[in-house]
Amino acid sequence: KLQSSISDPMTSPPPQLRSQVIALYKNLLYMGRDYPKGYAYFRDRLKSVFLKNSGVKDPDQIKVLIGRGEFVIKELEALYMLRKYRALKHRYYEKDEATTSATTSSSDKEAPTKTQ
């Protein structure tokens, strides 16, 4: 999921882009606290992705990368919402074949039994 590349413009001119990147990193860390595979796993991969792009200096490209980071945040929000939905469904309703097949797709990688 963390294939998006974000940059940390340590040496690029616009300082407001730098603070945007730092804010993005902070938001991603907050989101990563609930990540199914654990905070440390998420944090290590996030950091390596940011460091990989730390050399990017072109402001337009930096904005593209920031956009990708925000997309990742939206994906994580959707993931957590789906997990909560499944947890409550599992707790309060009988297992129903029709709805189970509707809410699990073949591309789902997260275990639906995790209740957090």
Binding site: S19, I22, L51
Partner: protein
């Protein structure tokens, strides 16, 4: 529910009510708490840690580690530190001084 930071885990001397004023904070206590939070941070070598050590120069932290560190301090003290304040906090001494200003600790 009581806040789950280090201070409440160690047990306070005075009885701690959730909606009460809170524990009387001194600068010495702030030093201890900040240093403890930093020592528990896995990117910091506890042997090299002093109040004056600079995160970037002496402890070898990059700007992303710095973000995480400030988050750990935010969790301990229970309030958010805005990014523009956070980037000025370059050593434990800076953090303690900032907290003294925010928490009205005068000594």
């Amino acid at each position: 529910a009581a806040p789950t930071n280090i201070l409440s885990a160690l047990g306070t001397i005075a009885p701690h009510r959730c909606y009460g004023h809170g524990v009387e904070m001194t600068r010495h206590m702030l030093n201890e708490r900040v240093l403890l939070v930093l020592r528990l941070f896995d990117k910091i070598n506890p042997d090299k840690l002093t109040l004056e050590s600079q995160f970037a120069k002496d402890l070898g932290l990059d700007s992303l580690d710095h973000v995480e560190l400030i988050m750990a301090v935010e969790d301990e003290f229970g309030f958010e530190i805005p990014d523009q304040d956070a980037e000025r906090l370059r050593s434990p001494e800076d953090i303690v001084q900032y907290l003294c200003d925010k928490l009205d600790v005068f000594d």
